[in-house]
């Protein structure tokens, strides 16, 4: 029977691998998601019928728990706006972290249920695994709560920096190690609880100093942590399914963090140490010395230029999502296509507030995914493009990233919109972007600024195009 369970868990693990593999293309993605659900169902049912593990009362508890949790999850997932996706994912990560802490505590107080000893007499090896799972879980929990609060706007997106921050975090890290050693030597419940408390504090302190612009990295990183936490618990419970799944999720999050960091040309340490976006403002202000004249235009001007163009590349940024302009934008693209204009979308890796966020928002507005291209795919085409239409993006188009070594965004890969014959830039004001850097593009002779709300401006352009 134990062999059967192990094999069933293996099947579940393979299903999870297939779920991720399906995402290689939009055609196979939905099938992949079904594999994921099937894997989860297999895992749960196998555990339910595991002999000796469950008794009468526990069935009631488990079913009650699944019904309550499932109902909450279903309602939340069906109601959530796609713009609020990053917050939702951050909130979900916090739940995985907290669940890991709870399971570790349960295993600590009733190790008999998992066959890893008796209370007060757990092997040192199991205690280390348990402590690591708990610590990572607790850090994931408070870290995700902070990320959620920042993304939701409950807390300022500005990095919160205070003196002695790094020494304090380092001290907490050392304290955590000492506590783990103490736990292994003594099996003391006090050590376990202190590990929980210190890790909770550490999660809070680690994420607070990271600015809003870096949230895509943070969300990916927490995704990774929630996986490592699950793997840690898997070691404690000697469960392969948890280890495999944890490793999958952990490496997935790590890769996404890496891609995001590369998209901003920053090292992961630079992001984790935080503070970006705050002090950068001064550096940006110093760089913006040479001001030219800004040319601003109306919706009619923009409509005229685009109508007479052969190709248009739309560069959407998070500002588009905030203004909910994606539907109006798609309408504009449809009208232009009808006029025989080639319309494509260029997505920067860090556009939006989480990896791939912009693609989802465009897909929601019924933009065919073949029209949506990544930075490497489309960057060369700007030179042969008549109009680059920048809507709600700023820093990812700033040529200073290529030319000005003093700029805080120097070295970041950008979309070469300045190579297009005309650049149309929808913006509410001349304010600088998230990184706090002024964009010299605004002052170029081939740039036309369209001041106004992204949605209203786009709707006006559609009207002008249709008349």
């Amino acid at each position: 029977m134990a062999t059967f369970a192990t094999l069933a868990y293996l099947v579940a693990a393979v299903c999870f691998i297939l779920a991720i593999k399906g995402l290689a293309s939009p055609e196979t993605a939905r099938q992949g998601n079904f594999f994921g659900m099937a894997g989860m169902a297999i895992a749960i049912v196998t555990t339910l019928i595991l002999p000796g593990a469950l008794s009468g009362l526990s069935y009631v508890l488990i079913f009650a728990g699944i019904v309550i949790g499932g109902a909450i999850g279903t309602i939340v997932a069906q109601r959530i706006q796609m713009t609020a996706l990053p917050q939702l994912v951050a909130a979900f990560h916090s739940l995985v972290g907290l669940a890991a802490v709870f399971v570790a505590l349960a295993a600590f107080y009733t190790p008999e249920a998992y066959g890893i000893g008796r209370f007060g007499e757990i092997r040192a090896g199991s205690l280390v695994e348990m402590a690591l799972g708990t610590a990572i879980g607790a850090i994931t929990f408070t870290g995700s709560v902070v990320a959620f609060a920042k993304l939701q706007g409950l807390v300022s997106g500005k990095p919160l920096v205070f003196p002695m921050q790094h020494p304090l975090n380092a001290a907490l890290g050392v304290l955590l190690l000492v506590l783990i050693i103490w736990l292994c030597l003594s099996n003391a419940p006090a050590a376990m609880w202190l590990i929980v408390l210190v890790s909770l504090a550490l999660g809070l302190l680690l994420i607070l100093p990271i600015g809003g612009a870096d949230m895509p990295v943070v969300v990916s990183m927490l995704n990774s942590y929630s996986g490592w936490a699950a793997a840690g618990i898997g070691f404690t419970l000697e469960n392969n399914l948890l280890i495999i799944t944890g490793a999958l999720v952990g490496s997935s999050g790590a890769i996404l963090s890496y891609i995001m960091c590369k998209g901003m040309n920053r090292s992961i340490f630079n992001v984790i140490l935080g503070g970006f976006g705050g002090e950068a403002t001064t550096a940006g202000a110093a760089g913006g010395g040479e001001r030219g004249a800004v040319k601003s235009g109306s919706a009619e001007d923009a409509a005229y230029i685009m109508k007479n163009a052969q190709s248009v590349i739309i560069v959407p940024g998070y500002g588009m999502a905030v203004a909910q302009a994606q539907h109006a934008l798609r309408e504009m693209a449809d009208v232009l296509k009808h006029e025989g204009v080639q319309v494509r979308y260029a997505i920067h890796p860090v556009a939006g507030r989480m990896p791939g966020h912009m693609n989802v928002l465009l897909a929601e507005a019924n933009v065919p995914y073949d029209d949506v291209l990544e930075l490497e795919e489309i960057n060369r085409d700007f030179g042969q493009t008549d109009v680059a239409f920048v809507i709600g993006a700023n820093d990812v188009t700033n040529p200073a990233a290529k030319t000005d070594p003093a700029s805080p965004i120097y070295g970041m890969p950008i979309l070469d919109v300045e190579k297009a014959r005309t650049v149309l830039f929808i913006k509410r004001s001349m304010a600088s972007g998230y990184a706090g850097v002024e964009n010299e593009l605004f002052f170029r002779p081939n740039t036309m600024m369209l001041f106004g709300d992204a949605k209203k401006m786009t709707e006006e352009i559609v009207k002008a195009l249709e008349s």
Partner: protein, 140 residues
Amino acid sequence: MNPESISQSAADLATTARTLADQAAALANQTTQLAAAGAHEGPGFFVFGLTVFMLACFVGYYVVWRVTPALHSPLMAVTNAVSSVIIVGAMIAASPETFNFSTVMGFLAVILASVNIFGGFIVTQRMLAMFKKKPQPAKS
């Protein structure tokens, strides 16, 4: 790199991932037998678990790199749902003979993980539904 060489290397990666998965499966079988033989000693599981863990990291590495960037948001949502497999541990915790502190912890963990499982898979499904091929609006 030209498209052919990219697709070639992608195919190679897939083969590598499959081989790794096969190896992980073979390992899992071996240990099942070992465990059945009653070789349940101190460092036994840790080494075995570490082997599985490392191999799974490699499988994850190759599989995740093949995910198209357009689907990175669904990737995060689905990995989040999948990591809630921790519910397995929570279910065992919720079921000792007597009702105690661990039962409460297990029960709460079952609720939290269920929120994630249902929420994660449903929101992924919602996102992926948007990526369906749609009839193109008059493209001239």
